[in-house]
């Protein structure tokens, strides 16, 4: 059966959407669920970080960032010259795939929890670090050689103070400053309910994704193929890097998942402001309509299996 039952809620939402059910998650509830997930992930990372030493993380952190920068740089030429997409669309989609998805990450965390596997707490720091640079690279790619001015001020503001990055960093800091004991009274809310809230959020994601898939389909087979092959390629980068850095198997799965996942909270908002000539239906359609379900249903177990092979052989 399926790797992790929580993804069945995505399926339920998608069916509701495709069957035109009157099931609707009000926008206010969607906002509340996403604020919860971002804060919870951040808090948890902060607590884990408070328990680890920071200096030894600098070098691996840098490596993770540098390798991540290759993802949009690989994606862009493929989209532009194989896919024959406009510069703006190619750059925007590349930015989405370079950035990360908090919910995909959460599904991988749940996948590990189900198997009783641990992971490095600072993975959540990487999650935060990886959200931003790819978006900036995407914008630079869009503007390179066009001479068009960018609303950089507004855009960087949208990136750093957009709720996604802001709540992750905020949660991280609060968790770090407060430490494990002080966070304990918050755990019934932010940790015990985590998976239940994730289930509801996936239900909503299914509803939203189902309305997006039609739009991707109309753009043809190339984009669908890209949205499946690109995450696998990126995950391979992550698996090799995690293994090379001596991470635990769990940590490597999370890194692979981060690389493989595509953003649909931070990136769409930033790109819509900074590269308005890009068609958001394409980038959101690919990342939410294809890559997200691919990752949670097929990707995470696949990356785990691949990582296991490498760890078995390469020790």
């Amino acid at each position: 059966m399926v790797s992790e039952p929580v993804v069945l809620f995505f399926l339920l939402g998608a069916i509701a959407g495709l069957a035109k059910s009157d099931l609707k998650i009000p926008m206010a509830v969607y906002e509340a669920l996403s604020i919860f997930l971002l804060l919870a992930i951040g808090l948890h990372g902060g607590v884990k970080l408070a328990e680890s030493e920071l200096v030894p993380l600098l070098l691996p952190g840098l490596a993770v960032l540098v390798v991540a920068a290759f993802i949009p740089l690989i994606a862009f030429p493929v989209l532009r010259w194989v896919g024959r997409m406009t510069r703006a669309d190619s750059a925007s989609i590349a930015g989405h795939y370079g950035s990360v998805s908090v919910v995909t990450f959460s599904v991988a965390v749940a996948y590990l929890a189900q198997r009783g596997l641990d992971y490095e707490g600072h993975m959540i720091v990487f999650l935060v670090l990886l959200e931003i640079p790819a978006i900036v690279i995407g914008i630079l790619l869009a503007k390179a050689g066009t001479g068009g001015g960018t609303r950089w001020g507004k855009t960087l503001h949208e990136v750093f103070f957009g709720k996604s990055v802001f709540l992750l960093i905020g949660g991280l800091l609060i968790g770090y400053l407060a430490g494990p004991e002080n966070i304990e009274p918050l755990e019934p809310m932010f940790w015990d309910l985590f998976k239940g809230v994730l289930a509801l959020f996936l239900l909503e994601m299914g509803l939203v994704a189902s309305s997006r898939i039609a739009e991707v389909r109309s753009y043809g087979v190339f984009l669908v193929a890209f949205a499946i092959v690109m995450p696998v390629v990126a995950a391979l980068l992550g698996i090799v890097l995690g293994w090379g850095l001596g991470m635990s198997l769990g940590g490597t799965l999370l890194l692979a998942t981060l690389y493989a996942s595509a953003s649909y909270i931070a990136a769409p908002a930033a790109m819509r402001i900074a590269v308005p000539e890009a068609n958001p239906a394409l980038s959101i359609g690919a990342s939410l309509g294809v890559t997200f379900p691919f990752n949670i249903f097929v990707g995470v177990p696949l990356y785990f299996w691949l990582a296991e092979q490498l760890y078995a052989v390469g020790g």
Partner: protein
């Protein structure tokens, strides 16, 4: 009916633009504005309003004809090409 003749301008566009737009409307000289969350459908497809990236807002500005012309021109120049947008005006009388 008695009242001060004015023009009512209505702008329907993407929710993500709200903060920028209301700043610009103030700078263009409006004495106020009213914003409402909306959903809809138009040239740019369906806007379900179930998440922020997919919602519309409806902005109302009551002002002089000249103010409305100025705002409309600014909106057309800045947002028309790339964003879902509808701008219309009607006659109105102000009663306070």
């Amino acid at each position: 009916m008695e009242g001060e003749p004015m023009r009512l301008m209505v702008i329907v566009t993407e929710a993500i633009l709200e903060d920028m737009l209301v700043d610009e409307i103030r700078k263009l000289g409006a004495s106020g504005y009213t914003v409402i969350d909306a959903r809809g459908w138009g040239e740019h497809g369906k806007r379900r309003g179930n998440w922020r990236q997919g919602g519309n807002i409806r902005i109302e500005v009551l002002g002089s004809e000249e103010l409305c012309t100025r705002i409309a021109a600014h909106m057309r120049d800045t947002y028309q090409k790339d964003y879902g947008l509808l701008i219309y005006t009607t006659d109105a009388l102000l009663h306070n």
